[in-house]
Symmetry: C2
Subunit: 340 residues, 2 copies
């Protein structure tokens, strides 16, 4: 194990730089100068988004392997690019690293970052590495490209548009519940072994989420252009309200349509948690929530990765969850407060 | 004073968003969606750079006003854009904020960020705000534009090129010495008043540095295109070595040519510090170090903002400081270790 101060900041950057590959045609110059140089293709607009992951707020290194953390840090940024209907092209990564870290630990983090770069076809073109007096912080800014005028905003939904979500919901939140329970057990008895093998699905949802770039490509293949889109990072209820607010509409989503995976449902039962609440307020699923014109119903109704969960309505009706009994329940953004 | 958890993340973003103005023609959509949308002008390349400022590593809130800190966080990023010979266009800002902060404190930080945006003609187009279990962290990514092929890298210097630096050096480092001394006095006797009024120049250099965009514009007006460029963030010696390494050259810089301001010299004497060492290894001056062809000598020799400190030589000669007595002393990158 190599202490960080033995290689220093430039040594560390040199080690990371050596293993980085440039594959995007729009990357002219990557890591190693005062800034990277990019040449976006003609007729393209850029999208840019930034996300910060903070130890003790967004992740707990007790149970989060650094490689997974690096992968997740990229995936959550790519998810924002996907939510604009754009293709990710470059990222820059700034990390502040506690002195207790070894060079090998930092390299493991960057292994995960580079794995995600390969998976999403993104170039790592720059960054900053500094010390930290407290925990690890990872700040990633992602760039993407989209044909001029084709970016999808939160604000384009109209009444009667179908409201769709990719994949399934609630898993990441229940993964977190499992990790927190096992941590408490382990803190009480450091000799105990965490029982994690029983929960592969929800743990993967929490520790190593994927951005739904696959769906962006599928929608293009189907000729479906969402009228509005957002990624589900703070829980479904919060995101539906964001689309409604930006678009000036209301929404109706139906309890019986909300997609949940069987392993998620089982863990919810084990923890005595209402699965509907886990889907609405759980957060960190990184699925895409989007609206399409009613005319696209036939194209999406049997799509394996997409569920039609409801539709937009006039603003005056508000945003409601319709229970199995047909009762409307106003949606509230419980979400997740980092400042609580 | 308003506690952060009273307004929450969305409330805080809303407050910041309300006061942000968009002035760049290339900004299509700013804060408020999953990503910002940008449309770079035809024939332009983009440059992108990211910098992280961490409490306890890069700044100390005991003496650093939040407004200055916000300004500085933008300026250091713009300095990287300037060092590519580009004009800054947009920034995104991610902050992790300790619970002890009030809403008003965060707004003060963003006041400084917005002041710098106005000063450098940059749009604040996105960001992320999260909690922090420890100190304040500010991560800024800056974008800039430059005509295709006109970005200046570290790697273009040739032997005989003149080596130039803007402004003067060592001030920021001596400003830090003053702040650290006064902090010690204050910690020993909390009733004492810090003696800061005597040191306006070096304190401004430390607390509120400017990116040298003015010089970028002046060089364009003069028709001077640097062959290589870097910003002086880690001390002159480290930056000269970076240019030499990237360009495959050596360098000779002359002690008697190094620019230092009189107030900086006075503080160096007061602290019994060698002013040459402060210039070579002090860091945080955010001046520009660049090379130009010998033919540009006449254009720059009397320029008030630019000093010719030496010239590049063949790689085999190495990088040396030439003393008044004509003795060569090899340059070493002392720089600044965040991991120490």
């Amino acid at each position: 194990m190599t202490p960080l101060d033995k290689v220093g900041e430039f040594g560390l950057i040199g080690r990371i730089q050596q293993t980085v590959e440039i594959t995007q045609p729009s990357t002219i110059l990557g890591i190693g100068d005062d800034a990277a140089i990019l040449a976006p293709a003609a007729g393209q607009e850029l999208v840019i988004s930034t996300d910060l992951l903070v130890e003790g707020v967004h992740f707990d290194l007790t149970f989060c392997p650094l490689k997974h953390l690096g992968y997740k840090a990229v995936a959550v940024n790519v998810s924002d690019i996907a939510a604009m209907n754009a293709l990710p092209t470059q990222i820059v990564v700034a990390v502040s690293i506690p002195a207790r870290f070894t060079v090998e630990a930092v390299e493991e983090l960057f292994e995960g970052i580079k794995l995600a770069c390969e998976a999403y076809n993104v170039d790592l073109v720059g960054g900053d590495t500094t010390g930290s007096r407290a925990g690890l912080t990872i700040s990633i800014t992602a760039l993407g490209q989209v044909a001029a005028g084709k970016a999808v905003r939160r604000s384009g939904a109209g009444p009667n548009d179908l409201l769709c979500v990719t994949g399934d919901l609630g898993g990441a939140y229940l993964g977190l519940q499992v990790l927190e329970r096992e941590k408490q057990v382990w803190q009480a008895d450091p000799e105990s072994q965490p029982e994690l093998d029983k929960y592969p699905y929800v743990l993967q949802r929490q520790l190593r989420p994927e951005a739904r770039m696959d769906v962006i490509h599928e929608l293009r293949d189907l000729g479906v252009v969402p009228t509005s889109m957002i990624d589900v990072s703070d829980g479904l209820a919060s995101e539906v309200l964001h689309l409604c607010q930006a678009s000036g509409t209301g929404a109706r989503i139906f309890t019986e349509n909300l997609p949940i995976a069987n392993p998620t449902l089982e863990v919810a039962e084990e923890f005595n948690l209402d699965p509907i609440m886990c889907m609405l307020n759980g957060g960190e699923d990184y699925e895409l929530l989007f609206t399409v014109p009613l005319a696209d119903h036939a194209k999406l109704k049997n799509h394996p990765d997409i569920t039609i969960i409801g539709h937009m309505v006039d603003k005056s009706e508000g945003a409601n969850l319709i229970t199995k009994a047909g009762q409307p329940v106003p949606l509230k953004a419980q979400g997740f407060s980092h400042f609580g």
